[in-house]
C-alpha cells in the first residue's frame, strides 16, 4: 500500500461505523422485526431427557388447539431432509451417527426437537406445544467425557461403541527422551466447563417456500447465507439457484450463528409442507439447550525445561465432550485439533506430542464459538511457561523474552505444525510491559501481599490463525467457501455501490470495506454504499467465519477498487483525450497527475458512461461494474498475534475475584479502522474474562442442564469488568496487497490465558492453584482449602 492515502476516510482512518446510526436510533431490522403476509410461527417440543426412548407421541389435542395450522413430528419432517453425517472426508476414523431433524425413536440430548407446532402466533404455538403428550422411557445417559471413555460406558450410538468421534495424535522430535532428560517437568490437569455464546439476539429465521415456482427464500440470522443455501439445496433437494438466503441485521453471532441446526432446517421443511412463510425465533430458555455449546475439555499437559530456561518439550492430552452428534459442516472436533496444533506456538522448542480425543456425550452439540480451540492452547501454554519461569526463579516477562521464537527464525513451522511468518511476539511484549507499567505493578503486588492482599499478574501470548485458506475446510468436503468477492458499480451520480460476500453481525466490516474502496478508487466513504448478506446477489463467498472479513473480503474489495479505478480512468482518457497514466482519482474527481488539476468528476464519468456512450469512440467498451475475488490459496491462514495482561485481586475469605485491569497489544497486520479494531479486541476480552470467571452450562452427572436461564447462567456485566487498554503492533500480512489479518478472536484468546495465569499468580504465596474453569468462588475456596490441607500434612 502506498503511504499516501487517496481518501482521508480510507484505510487507517479512525471513523465511526456507519451502520450504527441506524441501529442506535431503533431503526435496525432483525429477523423478529420482520413480518411477511400469511406468516406462521413455530414452537418446538423438545426432549426433556438427555437420553430416552420415545415410547409414544400424541399430537391430536395440540392439532385442535386455537390458532394451530399444523403439528409435525419426525413422521412428516424427517423424510424431507437427508440426515446429516458430520464427518470430515479427509480424516479417516472420524465418525458420527446420522442426525435426523426430529427425534424418531430415541432422544440423545436434552433439548433435541421432537415436534414442531405451527400456529398463527408464537403465543398460540407455545400454548399448543403444552398439549403435545410424549411418553418417554429414560435410558442411562453419558454425562461427560470421563464417563464416555470408560470401558463400561453405554454407547450413545450403537454403531460407535466406544463413543469416540475422533482420536488424533501428532508428534514431532523426541518428546519421550526430552521429558526423561529434562531438569524440570511441570505437569497439570486443566478442566474447561461447557459454555455458550449467548448472543443477545437469539437464533432465528423466516422460511418462505413458494409453491408457485418451488423456490425457497430464507431470511436467516446466520453468518454465512452461502453455506446455508448449499445445505437447504442439497439436504432438502431444491435446485441451488432456487434457494435464496439473506441475512438481516443480526444481534451478535460469535461463531454460534455459523452452525447448522436441526430446528432451523425443520422450520424450512414446515414452510415447504404448508406453502406459507414460517418464522422461528428461539426463546431464551430453549437457546440454552439448542444453541451450540463450546469448550468442555479435560486437558493433561506438561512442559520440560532446562535449568537455563530453555523449553525442551511440551505435551497435551485432551478429552473433549462434543455432544451427541458431529456438527454439520463445521465439525466439532476443531477445538481439540486447534489445541493440538497451537499449544506452545509462540515458543521455540522441537519436541512435542499432542493427542485429542473427541467424545460423544448425551448433551447438546458443541459448535463454533469465538476462538474455537485457540484459547485452550493459550491457557495451557501460558500457565505452563509461567509455572516454569516461577520454578526457575526467572521473572515471567524475562522468561518470555528468552523463550519466544526469535524473529531471525521466521518463517518457520512450529512443533505443532503451524506456519509462522509475520509475527511480532517480542515487540508486542515490550509494548505491553510499558503500557501496563509492569515493574510498578509487580512492586505494588509485592507490597500488598505483606498486608494479606492477594493480587496477581498474568501475561498471555497468543497466536490467532485468521482468514483460513481452502486447505482447511476444502478437503473435508464441507460446503464452506474460503473465497470472498466484491462487486463494485459506479452509479450515474458518481457514487459507488458495493456488494460484498462478507457479512457483518456488529464487527463493522462493511464500514471497513467502504474505507478500502475509498482508498483504492479515490473518493470519500460517504460516496460508497456497501451491502452484504444476500446469498443470491453479488459474488459468492464465505460470509463471516474465522475472522476473515477485513482480510479476505477486504483484499477482494481492494482489488475490485483498483480494477474499477482503471476502467474509470480509461473512460476519462477517452473523454478527455489524455493518456490514462497521466490521470488519477482524488476525492471523487479525476485529476491530471502532472498539473494536479481536476479533469472530470466521477458524476460526469457516470453520466457519459451510462447515458451518452454514443459520444465515445465507437469501439470503446464501458465497464463500470467490476468484480474481484480473493482466496488465500497458498496459505493455511493469516497468523495474527498479541500479548495481554490481567491484574486481579482474589479475596481469600470469599473466593471472589476482582478484575483490576486488562491490557492488550494486538498485531492484526494492517489496521483498516483503529476504532473498530480496538472495540473488537475489547469485546473479545470481556468474553474471555466471562469464560474464566463466570460462564458455565452446569449439568448434573446424568446430563440434565441445571442452569438454563439467564438468571442462573452468569455473563459479564459492566460492574465486574475492568477498563481495557489496547495498543497495537502492525506487521502487515505479506501475501496480500492489503496486508490485513483478522482480529475477531484474539481478544478472547489472550484474555482467557491472562486471567488464568493472573488468578493463579495471586494464589502462589498461598500454595493454592485453580485448574477448573470457570473460577467460581466455590472453586477458589476449594483450592485454598486443598492448599491448607497439603501444607498441614
Amino acid at each position: 500500500m502506498s503511504a499516501q492515502a487517496a481518501s482521508p476516510t480510507g484505510i487507517g482512518a479512525r471513523i465511526p461505523r456507519r451502520e450504527l446510526k441506524r441501529l442506535l436510533t431503533g431503526h435496525g431490522r432483525y429477523v423478529d422485526d420482520i413480518k411477511l403476509p400469511r406468516m406462521l410461527h413455530v414452537c418446538f417440543v423438545r426432549s426433556p431427557h438427555p437420553h430416552a426412548r420415545l415410547v409414544s407421541l400424541d399430537v391430536t389435542e395440540a392439532r385442535r388447539a386455537a390458532g394451530v395450522a399444523a403439528v409435525f413430528t419426525a413422521v412428516e419432517i424427517n423424510p424431507k431432509c437427508e440426515p446429516f453425517v458430520a464427518v470430515a472426508l479427509n480424516r479417516p476414523g472420524h465418525r458420527s451417527a446420522p442426525q435426523p431433524l426430529m427425534v424418531t425413536d430415541r432422544a440423545v440430548w436434552q433439548g433435541q426437537p421432537v415436534a414442531i407446532v405451527v400456529a398463527a402466533s408464537r403465543a398460540e404455538a407455545e400454548d399448543a406445544a403444552e398439549l403435545v403428550v410424549a411418553a418417554w422411557d429414560p435410558l442411562p445417559a453419558v454425562g461427560d467425557q470421563l464417563q464416555a471413555i470408560a470401558s463400561d460406558a453405554p454407547a450413545i450410538h450403537p454403531e460407535i461403541a466406544d463413543n469416540i468421534a475422533f482420536d488424533f495424535t501428532l508428534e514431532s522430535g523426541d518428546p519421550t527422551k526430552a521429558f526423561a532428560t529434562a531438569d524440570i517437568v511441570i505437569e497439570e490437569e486443566l478442566r474447561f466447563e461447557r459454555q455458550t455464546a449467548m448472543t443477545l439476539e437469539t437464533r432465528g429465521l423466516i422460511a418462505d417456500y413458494n409453491l408457485g415456482d418451488d423456490s425457497l427464500t430464507v431470511i436467516h440470522a446466520h453468518q454465512s447465507p452461502y453455506q446455508m443455501q448449499e445445505i437447504f439445496s442439497h439436504h432438502l433437494n431444491i435446485p441451488a439457484h432456487k434457494v435464496r438466503v439473506t441475512a438481516p441485521d443480526i444481534g451478535g453471532a460469535f461463531g454460534m450463528k455459523l452452525n447448522v441446526y436441526a430446528d432451523e432446517i425443520a422450520t424450512v421443511v414446515a414452510s415447504m409442507l404448508l406453502g406459507q412463510p414460517v418464522k422461528f425465533c428461539v426463546d431464551r430458555l430453549e437457546s440454552f439447550v439448542s444453541d451450540s455449546h463450546a469448550r468442555d475439555h479435560v486437558i493433561k499437559c506438561r512442559i520440560a525445561v532446562k535449568r537455563t530456561g530453555e523449553i525442551t518439550a511440551m505435551e497435551v492430552d485432551d478429552l473433549g465432550a462434543i455432544g451427541a452428534y458431529g456438527m454439520p459442516m463445521r465439525f466439532n472436533v476443531a477445538e481439540g485439533m486447534h489445541l493440538a496444533g497451537l499449544t506452545g506456538a509462540p515458543y521455540a522448542f522441537e519436541n512435542y506430542r499432542a493427542r485429542t480425543r473427541s467424545l460423544y456425550v448425551n448433551k447438546n452439540l458443541i459448535g463454533m464459538y469465538r476462538g474455537v480451540g485457540f484459547p485452550l492452547a493459550c491457557v495451557v501454554t501460558e500457565l505452563l511457561t509461567d509455572l516454569a519461569a516461577d520454578r526457575l526463579g526467572i521473572d515471567t516477562l524475562e522468561f518470555k523474552r528468552r523463550s519466544y521464537r526469535p524473529k531471525s527464525s521466521l518463517p518457520c513451522v512450529t512443533a505443532g505444525g503451524q506456519q509462522l511468518d509475520s509475527v511480532s511476539f517480542h515487540e508486542c511484549l515490550e509494548k505491553l510491559a510499558r503500557l501496563m507499567d509492569y515493574d510498578a505493578l509487580r512492586r505494588e503486588q509485592a507490597e500488598l501481599r505483606k498486608h494479606g492482599i492477594y493480587r496477581g499478574i498474568g501475561i498471555a501470548t497468543f497466536v490467532e490463525p485468521t482468514a483460513h485458506g481452502p486447505s482447511g475446510y476444502g478437503p473435508t468436503g464441507a460446503w464452506v467457501s474460503s473465497h470472498d468477492g466484491c462487486t463494485l458499480r459506479l452509479e450515474p451520480s458518481g457514487a459507488i455501490r458495493c456488494t460484498t460476500s462478507i457479512t457483518d453481525q456488529g464487527q463493522g466490516t462493511l464500514t471497513g470495506v467502504a474505507q478500502i474502496i475509498a482508498d483504492s478508487v479515490g473518493l470519500s466513504v460517504e460516496q460508497i454504499s456497501v451491502s452484504g448478506g444476500d446469498g443470491a446477489v453479488g459474488p459468492y463467498g464465505g460470509g463471516a467465519w474465522a475472522s476473515r472479513g477485513a482480510a479476505t473480503g477486504g483484499e477482494a474489495a481492494l482489488r475490485a477498487g483498483r480494477k474499477l479505478k482503471q476502467n474509470i480512468l480509461a473512460l476519462a482518457s477517452a473523454i478527455t483525450q489524455t493518456s490514462p497514466d497521466q490521470l488519477s482519482i482524488v476525492d471523487g474527481e479525476v485529476i491530471n497527475t502532472r498539473t494536479q488539476q481536476p479533469v472530470i468528476s466521477l458524476a460526469e464519468i457516470g453520466r457519459i458512461g451510462y447515458f451518452r456512450p454514443d459520444t465515445l469512440p465507437p469501439d470503446f467498451e464501458v465497464q463500470l461494474s467490476v468484480t474481484a475475488s480473493f482466496v488465500a490459496n497458498d496459505k493455511m491462514y493469516f497468523m495474527g498475534n498479541g500479548v495481554q495482561a490481567s491484574y486481579v485481586e482474589v479475596d481469600t475469605e470469599t473466593g471472589f475475584i476482582t478484575m483490576l485491569g486488562q491490557w492488550a497489544v494486538d498485531d492484526c497486520g494492517r489496521i483498516i479502522n483503529p476504532l473498530l479494531v480496538d472495540e473488537q479486541v475489547r469485546g473479545g476480552i470481556v468474553q474471555g474474562i466471562g469464560a474464566v470467571l463466570f460462564e458455565e452450562c452446569v449439568y448434573s452427572d446424568d446430563a440434565n442442564l441445571l442452569n438454563g436461564t439467564l438468571a442462573d447462567y452468569l455473563v459479564p456485566m459492566a460492574s465486574e469488568m475492568p477498563d481495557i487498554f489496547v495498543d497495537h503492533v502492525e506487521t502487515p500480512e505479506r501475501s496480500t496487497q492489503l496486508g490485513a489479518k483478522g482480529v475477531g478472536e484474539g481478544g478472547l484468546i489472550g484474555a482467557m490465558g491472562s486471567v488464568w495465569v493472573a488468578v493463579n499468580d495471586a494464589l502462589k504465596p498461598l500454595g493454592a492453584k485453580v485448574r477448573h474453569q470457570p473460577f467460581t468462588p466455590e472453586r477458589v475456596l476449594d483450592a485454598l482449602a486443598r492448599a491448607r490441607k497439603e501444607a498441614a500434612e
Partner: protein
C-alpha cells in the same frame, strides 16, 4: 398434558390508553400480553428488543413515567394511564440524541441489539444530573447486558456527557 385449558387464560382483551412517545394512544391488547410484545407486535415499534423475556438482559428496557422498566416484565395493561417512552420516541429529544452521538463516535455498540435498552438506562442516568465515577456508572448500567462491546466505550460515552454537563 393436564386437564386445564391454559390456552384461554389471559386471552381476554383490555383497552390500553397511554401516552406513547408523546402521543396519546388507545389500543386493545390481550390481558396476558407484555408491554414489549405489545409495542413490537401491535404498534410495530420494533426498536424495543427482547433478549430473554425473564427480566435479566435489559434489552427491552423502556421508560414508564420517566423511569426505566423492563418491557418483558410489565404487562401492556399496566402501562395504561401512564407515559411510555421507547427508543423511537426519544431519538428526537435532545438528550438521547446527544447520547447516541457519543455512542456512535466511540463504537459503543456493535450488533445494536442491547442498544435501545442500554441507551434508555444511560438516559435515565445522565438525566439525573449526577456526576458519577466510572465504577458507579458501571454499577448503574449493570442491569443491561451487552455481549459485544466490553462496556468500556459505553462507560466512556456516559462519562463524556457528565463531563460536558460539569463544564457547562
Amino acid at each position: 398434558m393436564t386437564e386445564s385449558n391454559n390456552a384461554l387464560l389471559g386471552e381476554e382483551e383490555v383497552v390500553i390508553e397511554t401516552i406513547l412517545n408523546g402521543r396519546p394512544l388507545k389500543h386493545r391488547a390481550k390481558a396476558r400480553q407484555h408491554l414489549a410484545d405489545f409495542l413490537r407486535h401491535e404498534i410495530e415499534l420494533t426498536g424495543t428488543h427482547l433478549g430473554c423475556e425473564h427480566g435479566i438482559c435489559g434489552a427491552c428496557t423502556v421508560l414508564i413515567d420517566g423511569r426505566t422498566a423492563r418491557g418483558c416484565l410489565t404487562l401492556a395493561a399496566q402501562a395504561s394511564g401512564r407515559r411510555v417512552d421507547t427508543i423511537e420516541g426519544l431519538t428526537v429529544s435532545g438528550k438521547l440524541a446527544e447520547l447516541q452521538e457519543e455512542f456512535f463516535a466511540r463504537n459503543a455498540a456493535q450488533c445494536g441489539f442491547c442498544s435501545s435498552g442500554m441507551l434508555l438506562t444511560a438516559y435515565e442516568l445522565v438525566s439525573s444530573e449526577a456526576t458519577l465515577s466510572r465504577a458507579e456508572i458501571r454499577e448503574y448500567i449493570s442491569g443491561n447486558m451487552c455481549r459485544c462491546t466490553g462496556y468500556h466505550a459505553i462507560v466512556d460515552a456516559v462519562e463524556a456527557i457528565m463531563a460536558r454537563r460539569r463544564r457547562s
